[in-house]
């Protein structure tokens, strides 16, 4: 190719766009040597390509649509008593029941309290799911695990049925321990000066309520919690013994999680008075007013639970990969990718017998993979095995479309004039766009649904199609034109 033409080619915006994207992708992938002299990149890998474990937990609870003839508050309170579990109102017509019941089991209870079951969804509300996510993240962070992800899978109906926890660098046993581990929660009472005495441990707390205002509507936030019978009498005798009932302000109550004070406040006058004469099971820890008070109430709720989740869970699925097997898979994927590219090049060469056509085709094809990998680095997507299969399929189908362009332009073996060339390129692009649209639409449901690991695969495949249509095919059209018209 003459120098002038070469220059023109690099000035063409389609080719320029491709080159710029390529450079950006390489920067995003950032291949470099780490401190140990090993070649690494910014790419992140899923749990089947590196050591790690995942757990998918199913919530033993349900969100139920309801109607009632009773006042809603009374209905909820009564239902909570008769079902012997926490019942939380999600919105005007939905309740979250934090224990596993079937719809048929619930119906008689609802009827007895003057209500009906309208809809039934196993799972928890989006708000509770958020709480679960926070609790799990806190637990995992406390363990100092390197790299962990907690995802609650919330459906379109705002009900979450599963939470998925992925932890890199741990095995199955460790993962189960981290998830199952509870913190040590303790209530202590101030005796004299800065010294405190032990009163209760977390096992005396039988339930923790969601943050609320007390009195209702006052803007004074806090968390209510319930003590066991024994806990309540221990609490009462400690309060009397250390003088908290007569002089609350000098004998504050402190709550500790794993030996860190998370809350400290005096007994209220009213509580101090009533504790003198009888034990109290229902307690309320107030945290202040406004958004700040509400936020602190949420934090305190998590701490009161000491790592216990608000709903019971069961393991719906789990898995782990060892370091050596992950490494093995990685090696296989790299071999497969390189061999696939060579094979494709070979088939193309067999057809066209012309290095000047084959070389740009293969290079464009490879550049598409580089751009996709760059995209994967930027969105910090964790590549897993299905994603890699998708990438290699992009390799195969990407070259298909380059074939369509080449054949369309080379129609009847004559190199066309620029005018005819543009017409033919446009026609080739029509075919490509329709084909691309079908792939996009086929992958769309997977990208929107939460089908476990397949979401990422679908997004990467769609991305591959878009990069192909928008960037690499037009650039290839320009390049092949220059080469052929020589």
């Amino acid at each position: 190719m003459k120098k002038e033409r070469m220059k023109d080619l690099f000035r063409d915006w389609r080719v320029l766009a491709l080159l710029i994207l390529l450079v950006l992708s390489v920067i995003a992938i950032y291949p470099h040597f780490d401190n140990n002299g090993n070649l690494t990149t910014n790419l992140q890998y899923g749990l089947d390509l590196q050591q790690g474990a995942w757990l998918q937990l199913e919530f033993k609870a349900e969100v139920v649509g309801f109607t009632t003839t009773e006042p809603v508050d009374t209905f909820v309170t009564n239902l909570s008593k008769s079902l012997d579990t926490d019942v939380i109102q999600v919105d005007a017509s939905h309740l979250e029941i934090r224990k596993s019941f079937t719809q048929a089991e619930l119906e008689p209870y609802f009827a007895a309290e003057g209500g009906t079951v309208v809809s039934y969804q196993p799972g928890i509300s989006a708000a509770t799911a958020d709480l679960v996510k926070q609790i799990l993240e806190q637990k995992i962070n406390a363990m100092g695990t390197k790299d962990a992800k907690v995802n609650t899978l919330t459906g379109l109906n705002n009900v979450a049925r599963y939470v998925r926890v992925e932890m890199a660098g741990v095995d199955m046993n460790q993962a189960q321990q981290i998830i199952g581990k509870q913190g040590k929660f303790e209530i202590r009472i101030q005796t004299t000066g800065n010294s405190t005495e032990h009163v209760l441990y977390g096992d005396s707390i039988t339930s923790v309520q969601v943050p609320s205002q007390s009195p209702a509507g006052s803007g004074n936030w806090g968390v209510g919690f319930t003590l066991s019978e024994d806990g309540a009498s221990t609490f009462q005798s400690a309060a009397i013994k250390y003088g908290a009932t007569v002089d609350p302000s000098n004998h504050k109550l402190a709550m500790l999680l794993d030996n860190q004070t998370v809350y400290s406040a005096p007994l209220s006058q009213q509580l101090a008075g009533s504790l003198q004469s009888e034990p109290t099971r229902e307690l309320f820890a107030s945290t202040g007013t406004g958004t700040n008070g509400m936020q602190e109430a949420t934090n305190l709720e998590i701490q009161l639970r000491a790592g216990a989740l608000p709903v019971d869970v069961s393991v719906a699925g789990s898995g782990s990969t060892s370091a050596s097997l992950g490494q093995h898979y990685m090696t296989m994927c790299i071999i497969a990718g390189i061999l696939a590219l060579i094979m494709v090049a070979f088939v193309i060469f067999y057809r066209y017998r012309e290095p000047r056509i084959v070389l740009p085709m293969v290079l464009i094809n490879a550049s598409e993979i580089v751009i996709l990998l760059g995209f994967i680095s930027v969105i910090k997507f964790q590549m897993d095995l299905p994603t890699i299969a998708g990438l290699i399929a992009v390799l195969g189908t990407g070259i298909d479309q380059l074939v369509v362009i080449t054949d369309e332009i080379l129609h009847e073996g004559i190199v066309p004039s620029p005018n005819v060339y543009l017409k033919r390129l446009a026609r080739a692009l029509t075919i490509i766009v329709i084909a691309a649209a079908t792939v996009l639409i086929a992958m769309l449901p997977l990208a929107l649904m939460d089908l476990s690991t397949l979401k990422g695969f679908a997004i990467i495949t769609m991305m591959g199609v878009i990069v192909g249509v928008v960037v690499t095919r037009p650039a290839y059209g320009k390049i092949i034109m220059e080469i052929l018209s020589e």
Binding site: M172, G396, V403, R427, I434, T438, P445
Partner: protein, 284 residues
Amino acid sequence: MGLFHYNIEKYSPKQLVIIPMVLLAISLVVLAFVTVTVGMPVKPGIDFSGGTAVTVITPDTSNQIQAIFAGYPLVSVSEGLNNGKFITFGTMSDAQYQSLTALVESKYPDAQINQIGESFGKTLQDQAFIALIIAFIGMAIVVFVSFRTFIPSCAVVLSAFADMAMTAAMMNIVGIQLSLGTTAALLMLIGYSVDSDILLTTRVLKRQGKLNDKLTGAFRTGIIMTSTTIAAVTVLLIVSWAGQVEVIEEISAVLLMGLIFDILNTWLTNVGILKWYVLKGGGK
């Protein structure tokens, strides 16, 4: 392409369509039979029915492995090259699963374990089914909107459907189960199998020239398209089989079968219907 010569002009539309239609009928019978026996058109793997899969690289033989896991609901042990073993178990209780993972970790510390509970599997299965249906309908809509002619659009959609049905039937015959990976492969097929159909239909309907020339030209381009994809997927299949990367092995096997059926359905089914449509005066 010099591999084989295929004279589309030699055959009448009826002759073209007869072989794939017989195959389609057989496939549908296979799918119906499997649906009656296991409740789904393709036998579900552990992703959908629940169960545990263990991948391990060990010189132990299948018999030794069976002896080790005698107390557990062992379903199958499959072998790859390089001592790779893929062991599957049926559903079991939480306690039994815990003891199994402990056993696996003590015997084979380098194993990969994956477990799916029964109800979670059911949820995944329902979603996968919905995804497949929506994807297929979506594809059909794109095709109809693009060509805006009834019969040629139907031909493309029918070819894609035949492709899926034959691939699914073949999965049953060669014993590949429906999993998350193979569902992904089937979804990919929906998108990719219409590539060559779209090329064919566009060339025949939107281009000037003699029908037979257009068909031959489309075939020349179309067959090389499918060949490149087949080349990439074959490499993937061989490497993943040799390296015992079960997920990729299944995906590539399904894609390979689908692409082979795609050649059949594009260059017999779709060509047959399109030729009949043009000959009777449709198109131009």
